[in-house]
């Protein structure tokens, strides 16, 4: 027995006589029948990532100047990615859908899987968007079943931050980080000793996306959370990475903390594993010089993250095409340069990286250069078990809490992660896969 959602929800609402008539008209899909066509105006739902409201408004003003027939409006659709996706889901039940919305590394797939967002490939072709100019890793992050469901927008990666003063005091190089996690383990005692016994590295805990940061460590050890739809937590390599994390935490080399940025910025640890998004804040907040480095390899040892732009499936072709032209505009070479310099996110066009303005900016800001170099040299797309399986991030984060702060056996915890992940895949994913 299968219902379409709109008719189903309105069924119960039939007590309200006004609602029942409208409900019969729709029912064909996620879109709201009445607002399907739109009026040429483009609604962009954003959470202004990285404090970018002014930048977004400026880009929209420029767009509106050039495209008076299809003006765009900026809608504050939440304080974070979860809230945007909540609002989009509400709109899918029968409100006016946005034309473009921001969707995070963990939320885009569910929209794509349930055909709530539209594949962009045909829109790229139809609107002369040069998709080859998009940085390859960032573009391929949105690949599902041979099609792309998102355009990179506010994209970040992990970074290592090291307190230069402590590196110097420990007699370690101050121009690079450890190249492997084994090298980190060798450096750690010196870093701890040079900084009054404080941990060599602080990482956010399981409630604060440790699952994202640890993913790169698992890769560096040759492991992964999953190979496509097969969970691989129990593979020897992944377990070895977990074991390493556990031992380093027990030895006091790595601290797991709810407020990792702040602990690092007040000198509570010599190093920090965090997002590129923290760079701006730390530059203001830290009272000491620090360097940024790649995550220890071998490569790839660093996941990307952040948000992209998606276009709903339930709007008219005309709206989709307008939306695509708008998306192309706000991610244009010039705009991605302005946006990334203003927020700390990555420029998402290859042409932007060669642009004279960007080259000059990066020369002055070597810490921003690190992230871009790393994007090319050290990143890969995330594992399905974290970003595509519902509840993946929180589930893995909780498991990592159990081994770091709970001291449980890595093999046991990872075996249970395997099983839980497989159960969810079987129940919620497999029936929907093409």
């Amino acid at each position: 027995m299968t219902f379409t959602r709109r008719s189903f929800i309105s069924l119960a609402g039939a007590t309200a006589a006004t609602a029942s008539l409208a409900a019969c008209a729709g029912g064909s899909g996620a879109g709201a029948g009445a607002s399907d066509g739109g009026d040429g105006a483009i609604e962009f739902w954003s959470n202004h990532p990285g404090g970018s409201k002014d930048l977004e408004e400026a880009m929209i003003a420029a767009w509106n100047e050039a495209n008076p027939d299809t003006p765009a409006t900026l809608v504050t659709a939440g304080a974070n990615y979860e809230e945007i996706s909540q609002k989009v889901n509400a709109a899918l039940t029968g409100g006016r859908l946005p034309d473009v919305f921001i969707t995070s590394d963990v939320t885009w797939f569910n929209f794509a899987l349930n055909e709530a967002t539209t594949p962009l490939d045909e829109l790229w072709t139809a609107n002369d968007v040069d998709s080859d100019d998009i940085v390859d890793t960032l573009r391929e992050d949105y690949l599902f079943d041979g099609k792309h469901y998102g355009m990179p927008y506010c994209r970040s990666t992990c970074l290592m931050y090291f307190n230069s003063d402590v590196l110097a005091a420990a007699g370690l190089p101050t121009d690079r980080g450890p190249e492997t996690w084994e090298e980190f383990a060798q450096w750690a005692p010196a870093l701890v000793a040079a900084n009054g016994g404080k941990p060599a590295l602080v990482v956010p805990d399981g409630s604060n996306y440790l699952d994202w940061y640890f993913q790169g460590m698992a890769w560096a050890f040759g492991g992964a959370y999953s190979e496509e739809w097969t969970p691989t937590f129990s593979s020897p390599e992944t377990v070895a990475a977990g074991q390493f994390l556990k031992e380093q935490a027990a030895a006091g080399h790595i601290a797991v903390d709810a407020n990792a940025d702040n602990t690092f910025s007040i000198g509570g640890a010599s190093g920090l594993l965090q997002s590129t998004g923290s760079l701006g804040g730390l530059t203001e907040a830290a009272a000491f010089p620090f360097i940024t480095t790649f995550l220890p390899g071998p490569s790839p040892a660093c996941p990307t993250g952040g948000g992209g732009l998606a276009i709903p499936a339930g709007i008219s072709e005309e709206r989709k095409n307008n939306a695509m032209r708008f998306v192309d505009f706000i991610t244009s070479t010039e705009n991605t340069i302005t946006f990334s310099q203003g927020t700390g996110y990555m420029p998402m066009r290859k042409s932007a990286l060669e642009h004279a303005d960007e080259v000059a900016f990066l020369t002055e800001n070597p810490n921003a250069q690190t992230a871009i170099d790393q994007l090319a040299a050290n990143t890969a797309s995330q594992d399905y078990a974290r970003v595509f399986v519902p509840g993946g991030g929180a589930r893995i984060g909780g498991g990592l809490d159990r081994i770091t702060i709970g001291g449980e056996e890595v093999a046991t915890v990872f075996a249970s992660l395997d099983k839980e992940t497989q159960d969810v895949i079987d129940r919620d994913i497999t029936p929907l896969l093409p």
């Binding site: 929800i9 990285g50 404090g51 504050t76 509400a90 409100g95 965090q274 804040g281 952040g306």
Partner: protein, 325 residues
Amino acid sequence: MSTALSPAAASPAAVPSAAPKALPPTPGTQAAGEPPMNARQSARRRAISGDGGSPVGRAFGYGAMVLTALVFLLPLYFILITSLKTHGDIYSDPISWIPDPFAPENFSTVMNNLNFGTYLRNSIIITAILTIVEVTLGVLSAYGFAFLRFPGRDLLFLLLIGSLMVPNQITIISNYSMVAQWGWRNTFAGIIVPLAGVAFGAFLMRNHFLSLPTEIMEAAEMDSAGFFRTLFKVVLPMSWPTVSAFVLITVVTEWNQYLWPFLIASDDSVMPLPIGLTQLQNSEGMTNWGPVMAGTIITTLPMLLVFILLQKQMIKGLTAGAVKG
């Protein structure tokens, strides 16, 4: 059982010897023929209601008050100083107790970078309308539940209380799809109407009405005073402290509504303050909490003002009663 449930009935013997024919003396009303209190009587009233107590008792009272103030003020103090700190100064070890440098510009950041005036206006519109509607509906339905006998009353009252058990996380999707179909997305009506039903206040007021001396209602009934006369001349004058509490809680609740207005509002024209202020938070990386705390303080101050005004009202209820008794 009867004595247990109704405070008014708890000690029937203590009810003053009210003549059943005339309205008994009630707080806030001056019944005809009631002798005014002499000075000694009112002094004693004050002593009792104020509870001066022994010097030891007073010292204990002040000690407890200082302790309370400390427990509450410390975290509040952090909100205040954070609003005056620069990004780099917010976290430090040990904690810095005085902003250095002093950063009042956090407040101008909030005022200048956001459509603050618009959000404030929207918040006032939404809160004012909701408060008026909810208090009216609450008092009226409480009156019905407390003083009138009608078929289905007990069932309806159970349903009223039962609605307090439904969290808004489970009502929003269904309500959204209905309200959106009415075309009420991004309108004040869409924000206000679904929030206008009142269960808490009706429950509160009904409980209070039941605690009023029964003789009053009977007397009013015998007087065959109309509904409005009974409500405004008899019932409400004895209820201001509770009504004030009802108004206060309602104002605060509606002022702080987040989830529902967040879903319905899509631009500045109807967006209330709590949603407008989320723009200050950084969804990835480090949020600079200075401006966020400044925004919080600016949002909170009007509510504290409402509290101070209304708590005077609550005290007035007392003093009026104490003087006229």
